[in-house]
Amino acid sequence: MKNSVETTHIFGAQLSRRGFVKAGGALFVGFTLLDSKDAQGAVAKNSLDPSQFQSWVEIHADNTVILRTGKCDFGQSSLYTAYRQIIADELEIPFESITAVVGGDTDRTPDGGGTFDLLGRGVTSLRKAAAYTREAMLELAAQRFGVAKDQLTIKAGVISGGGRSVAYGELVKDQNLKLSIPVTGDLTTMFGLTVDGNPPLKPVSKYEVIGKPYRNSIIPTKVTAKETWVTDVKVPGMWHARIVHPATLGSKLIAAGSVDKSKFPNAQIVAKGNLLGVVAPTEWEAIQASRQVAASTKWSEWKGLPGQPNLFRYFRQDADWKSTTVSRSQKSGGDAASAMASAKKKHAATYEMPFMKHAPIGPTMALADYKADGTVTVHAHNQNPQALRGQLALMLGVPVDQVIVRLYAGPGHYGRSNGGNAGAEDEAVLLSKELGRPVRVQWMRGEDFQWSTQSPAGYSDVQIGLDANNKISAYTVDHYMPAMQDDRPVGAILAGLPTMPAPSPGGQRLANTVNGNSDPWVYDGVLNLEERAHGTYEVGQRESPLGVGLRDHSMRTPGQFQQNFPREVALSEAAALAGADPIQFRLDHSKEERLKNILERLREESGWQTRSAPNPKASAKGNAPVRGQGVSVMFRSGSYWACAAQIAVTPASGAIAVEKITMVVDPGVVVNPLQLKRQVEGGSMMGTSIALYEQVEFDESGVTTKDWRSYPILKMADMPEIKVVIVNRPEVGVYGQGSEAANALAAPAIAAAFFDATGKPARNLPLRPEYVKNLLKA
């Protein structure tokens, strides 16, 4: 092997030939850090196997390609479908050439960053890496042929020019090539590393792989029981643990309970601060012994929460909204106060949304293997493994290179761990360290409801003024919501170990109480607009002696759902006040062509009756079902969404049947219509579930919701008919998202349909029968 390194510069990247290899050969795409506070050391040392290169893209001599990304799959399919398609197009290779996508493992993937905005920020780095790589392959071919790069063309991984052709694999054969690309960011933060520079990107008009309905490659292994789920991982010497969490969200440990050794001879109790675990060689022994310990453990009492029935009174009267800076939306402008004062008609109402649970079908679990040398490997299902790694290192007081996180398929949890912690990981690490053996921590169903984070409750005061022409002359809103993203690992808090700070008014990004304006205003025809968002501490956070309280975390459309529901329901009510059809009313206040287009498509595709609400047949009484229609709109991550709900309400029972949901989505470039359709269907189901059923119950001490009876979700027999309409707008040039926004649309459309059906406004969620009956009596 030669020692010399030949280097070529390509759009700011560096291509190096590090001699030759005897067998195989490959091009690896690594990176040069432009600026990073702590990632440099982490990146340099974070591989178990120093010879394994942490590359975004690897091109091998057999023409196969491997992609690596710090992102994970939670059922969105993006890593296995959209990512492959986007990168195959950018690299000019067939979809099938990408034989593997490695996601999440901290010692095998390059970039970190949370699993959200997958087709926006998420894929952009990988796409740029692929563009640099394609240019490097052209450079190699140009050198080989003695032809200028601009004389070359690529088709399906074969470069042609000057009368010659060569496949990518042939160009890397017997070579040890490294392409170093410019990168910024910090690996273990929320956003991870970002590829820098501006390599030429393939124009949308030339896409060949993007837009086709490729299947998700992980489905066959999952349905034939060949996939290794996180729950399936076993390591030698592993014991099973259950955690005995405190009696309340503010209780401290007074005396740990005991175990009857005659019944459970191998079980061990581990206490560290207020963290109490029970560990045994078999899972059944751990479960039974932990129940015995829980029954005999003494905790201090605590009451410091307002309780669910008093939540909104607490928000109005007692919560501190003054310490946190109020956010004003970018589009706020004009003179809303004067316009409101001179309005001919006015709609003023308050909208309330409860705490909701991510509620994964499988409770959180993790397996930790803490070694005598102070390194630890954690097997997990997590949306931000590098951030988790940072949190665990902080907890242990060690450099990040002593922590490795390995990722597996698991139950989706819809945003809960995008800042690094799903629940069980830190507890598994602490128990493994205490016992000196691998420990698998599985939360039980009740713990997942009672000790995980929740999607924050909130309320909004909306005022809409109409002028003499029944057009909106002023819109003002004040949104109120406690801090939405608490990434502190709860086991570390209980054990009294270091964590990132709790949310506070002056805290750094993602650890502060600021409530941003998360729902972009789309009705550009409204000239006088005032949108303000008010934030505060989490409920019980400062009152709890543990500092725990009702911890919150982002769920699918964090903060945006809490702001979009009030806006869209209020707009439908204002349309009624104006005597206008609610779709036409929205069109009359829109300027954006994409928004108008999807609203018109929604009207055509949903069987919409063009008229004002309420329905002429509306009734708030009787045993006969009454029917209504409602509409909602959202703009998120470059995509426009419109939804129509058609529902039947039985006034006497308060029962609501959602009969049909129609979703029209314009995501810009449609990357994979098949997978997008499935994501939209799924989101519509979760949205229907949120509208009808979901609310976290809590008393003054903690969450009382504990199972699927106390937290009901949609069942198959109650599902609506779903119609998904996908509008491809390649000229827009962005890849919109599928799974995040889809679940936010149904609830405001269903609430508007309720008003249409009954003539009574529904401004709070969920629309359970008891609440509905009370509304209809009013």
Binding site: S77, N216, I218, I219, I361, G362, A409, P411, G682, M719
Partner: protein
């Protein structure tokens, strides 16, 4: 204690009151049934015992002795036996439910889908051509609880059950 799992007799050491779920996963390395609630409220842990869906998280292993337990791992062989397939044909054939789940791209996260496919198999073995109402009833009211999917794949499941039914009848979709 001996139980039959996917056609094989397996010796079990776990205590008799151990839920079947933990015996399958931790002792016998049969990993497809998943822990969801431990309360028979979700269906993620469903297996067939003598052709009937049971929730393995609340079923003591002792109650399965002398009975035939089938999980996703055993579906291809179950189908091959029902169709009289043998040798290489049997080895490469998936159960129609599995084929349909792939062709319809049904799972999202997929954690509940092992239980969903078990319920679909139970349904289709009794009712070869179920109506949509029968499909919805099977997944909602026929067992100890509804089968829950948090990702919202219900619509895709109905399509996949219809598709599996048509494969089983020997026709294309």
């Amino acid at each position: 204690m001996t139980i039959t799992v996917n056609g094989q007799k397996r010796e079990v050491q776990s205590p008799a009151d151990t839920p079947l779920l933990y015996v399958l996963r931790n002792e016998l390395d049969v990993m497809s049934p998943q822990f969801g609630c431990g309360l028979a409220q979700c269906g993620a842990c469903s297996v067939l015992v003598d052709g009937k869906e049971v929730r393995s998280c609340v079923t003591p292993v002792s109650s399965a002795t002398g009975k035939e337990v089938t999980t996703i791992e055993g579906l291809p062989a179950r189908w091959a036996k029902q169709k009289g397939l043998s040798g290489t044909d049997a080895g490469k054939t998936l159960h129609p439910v599995q084929q349909a789940w792939i062709e319809e791209q049904t799972p999202l996260c997929g954690y509940c889908q092992s239980g969903m496919m078990i319920k679909a198999t139970e349904l289709l073995e009794k009712t070869a051509k179920p109506s949509d109402a029968e499909i919805k009833a099977a997944f909602t009211t026929s067992g100890p609880s509804a089968h829950l999917c948090r990702c919202g794949s219900y619509y895709a499941i109905v399509e996949a059950v219809r598709h599996a039914s048509s494969i089983m009848a020997g026709g294309a979709k």
